[in-house]
């Protein structure tokens, strides 16, 4: 475990905080658009998980691979995703990267190393492992790949197969487990029987890290260390963070099953507020400055929402309805 206090500079911390703030503000906007009926389908937010998520995105660099999951708005933005692409996907703009063909958190730009998750948990582990294997086969070194999952996702066969495969190949894969205590409504006690998810690192023969997911400094330094170790040939790195999601599984869920004791515990702390308090107590910025940052972010995001809401949705008459890149293979089933 790295000694986190000394390695994160004020500028790195503030940079991370501002990405977290952008994600938070954007997600607040998504929630209000959902409540107003402007978004079709689900809305899945990462409130309370931004410190961990942003640290993943910031530990990566160009040429790396990132396959985020559903609570990684902050990590996505740190890796290069934008409010514009996010809103275009949620609001179904034809101009977005998914063109209305997929929505919400199922977005990405795979050709830029930013993979579009499928809903089946664990599936992105072997996928990122394969991307890293490809880079090794081509002789490219120094890259890492990261993928995020939750406590529930660690129960899947895909998680097991993917992490084991990455370990066998000693691939530079970061697997970040956000243990937010519940998989939808199912608590840890009904999800796994080991004392700590970190125990799995030993079982798979990979390096393991435990981090307080509400502590931005700890998250930044842990992810930085893990990425460094992977880059240097240390093989897969399993990072387990304890935290609580401060929202429902999706915006349709009131998360009544989360106990009040848990909400009142340290796990229930809001990482964004903790980070802001640290900025102010260290005098890296004044409360007025942080308030201004929020105002600036809100203005930008509101302007982006206004722009995207004027954009066209996909036109079924214009879609080529082609699931094949080789268009000759597209069959037509309409009666002749």
């Amino acid at each position: 475990m790295p000694n986190s206090g000394d390695v994160v500079s004020s500028s790195d911390f503030i940079r991370a905080y501002r990405v977290m703030l952008s994600a938070r503000v954007l997600e607040e906007k998504l929630a209000s658009l959902y409540r107003a009926g402007r978004i079709k389908g689900g809305v899945f937010l990462g409130r309370g998980q931004e410190a961990l998520s942003v640290s993943v995105g910031l530990a990566l660099r160009k040429g790396d691979i990132f396959a985020p999951l559903i609570r990684d708005q902050a990590g996505r933005m740190a890796f290069g995703d934008t409010a514009l692409d996010t809103l275009r996907t949620y609001l179904g703009s034809q101009l977005g990267p998914m063109r209305g063909r997929d929505g919400n958190i199922h977005r990405g730009r795979p050709s830029e190393g930013y993979y579009a998750m499928i809903s089946h948990l664990g599936a992105m582990l072997p996928t990122v492992a394969g991307a890293l294997l490809a880079k090794r086969l081509r002789g490219e070194s120094g890259c890492v790949g990261a993928t995020c999952i939750g406590d529930g996702g660690t129960s899947t066969g895909a998680f097991h197969e993917g992490l084991n495969t990455a370990a066998v190949e000693k691939l530079p894969l970061l697997v970040i487990v956000a243990n937010n205590q519940y998989a939808y409504s199912t608590p840890n006690s009904r999800q796994f029987a080991c004392a700590n998810l970190l125990d799995k690192a030993l079982g798979y023969g990979v390096a393991g890290y435990h981090v307080d997911g509400t502590d931005l400094t700890a998250c930044l330094s842990t992810l930085r260390e893990a990425a460094h170790m992977a880059r240097e040939g240390g093989g897969p790195q399993l990072i387990v963070a304890d935290l609580l999601r401060l929202v429902g599984h999706g915006e349709h869920d009131d998360s009544h099953y989360v106990t009040s004791e848990l909400k009142a515990s340290d796990l229930g702390a809001d990482c964004l507020l903790l980070a802001e308090a640290k900025i102010i107590s260290c005098a890296w910025a004044t409360p007025e400055e942080t308030a201004n940052w929020r105002n600036e972010t809100e203005s930008e995001i509101n302007a982006t929402v206004d722009k995207v809401r004027r954009e066209p949705g996909p036109d079924p008459n214009d879609d080529d309805w082609a699931a094949y890149s080789h268009t000759a293979f597209v069959e037509h089933y309409v009666p002749v």
Partner: protein, 322 residues
């Protein structure tokens, strides 16, 4: 040059692909120095060091790895030890590989080789024909080569394609089907082949059933009837034009498939001919499939579980009212 088996054609196609395209690698259980459960990758690990990789017994991860590598520009060939085991990798195939291009615009050029179909003693879990299952999913190309020549050339085509390919190679043909030489040219992917010309009825089939159908046609010829036999080659896309043109010539259709009947390739062929070529038919279209049970182990049971030349000949006689 000695004769080339269907299995050797598959090995040679992989060798050619590895030699000609640095993006190609082979990934699967026991494919490395052991050369694969059926020896379809024999000596390839030695000839192409670091490019023929043993995988853990993790079908889901094997396909996931292939997808990630394909996104990064590689051309992985995955060997499933048996087609039956691909159900453990089903999610990655149908939900990830098959959807990637439609969702993201990024193609997924993987080939998943499925040693398919029944052999004596194979039993319920080493005998399945899964082409219809995969053909059901948009985004997958499903190939079912029935000849040595197609096994070679279609596998090379599969590797060259940007779309994910399920390559159903038939284990029954591995050793006894032989050719004098590898082909120089071949039909395009998605094009069926008239394997035998005839005027009285059309048999549409694929995979190992082609050879049972050809034997049945030979038998029926002694009765004075000529059966036309269409080898589908790929079941997705399905060459409806060639099927309809044949039915237009003969007026009668029997579709033969080793798969289970419900929702299989034969069901799809019959549906298309019934809806698009109803007026061409002089008799109700027929189909002949494996029995609707798990594939039995004992040769006495297995030999009548799947369609055979004599069962096909019997069905053809009913179709022709002989």
């Amino acid at each position: 040059m000695s004769e080339i088996t269907y299995l050797e054609a598959i090995r040679l196609a992989q060798r050619t692909a590895l030699a000609s395209d640095p993006r190609v690698f082979v990934y699967g259980q026991d494919v490395g120095s052991f050369g694969g459960a059926f020896k379809a990758t024999k000596n390839l690990a030695k000839e192409f060091p670091g490019r023929v990789l043993d995988a853990p017994i993790s079908e889901d991860a094997i396909v996931g790895v292939a997808i990630g590598a394909a996104i990064e520009g590689m051309r992985p060939i995955v060997e499933m030890q048996f087609a039956d085991f691909s159900t453990c990798g089903f999610n990655q195939i149908v939900n990830h590989a098959a959807t990637l291009y439609y969702r993201t615009g990024v193609p997924c050029p993987i080939v998943v080789r499925l040693p398919s179909g029944g052999t004596e003693g194979g039993g319920p879990f080493h005998s399945q024909s899964m082409e219809a299952l995969y053909a059901h999913y948009p985004g997958l190309v499903v190939m079912t080569p029935a000849t040595v020549e197609d096994a070679y050339s279609m596998l090379l085509d599969a590797v060259a394609l940007d779309d994910p390919v399920i390559f159903c190679e038939h284990k029954f043909l591995y050793y006894h089907l032989k050719a004098k030489a590898l082909p120089e040219t071949n039909l395009p992917i998605g094009k069926a082949r008239i394997a035998r010309s005839g005027r009285d009825a059309t048999i549409v089939t694929h995979g190992a059933m082609l050879h049972e159908a050809l034997a049945a046609a030979k038998e029926i010829a002694t009765d004075g009837y000529e059966l036309e036999v269409v080898d589908l080659r790929t079941v997705k896309p399905l060459d409806t034009d060639t099927i309809l043109a044949s039915v237009a010539r003969t007026g009668r259709l029997l579709c033969v498939s080793e798969e289970w009947p419900w929702g299989g390739v034969s069901a799809e062929v019959l549906a298309r001919v019934s809806s698009e070529g109803f007026g061409l038919l002089d008799a109700p279209p027929m189909r002949l499939n494996a029995k609707d049970t798990p594939v039995p182990y004992h040769p006495n049971l297995w030999s009548v579980h799947r369609p055979t030349a004599s069962a096909i000949a019997d069905a053809a006689r009913r179709l022709l009212h002989i």
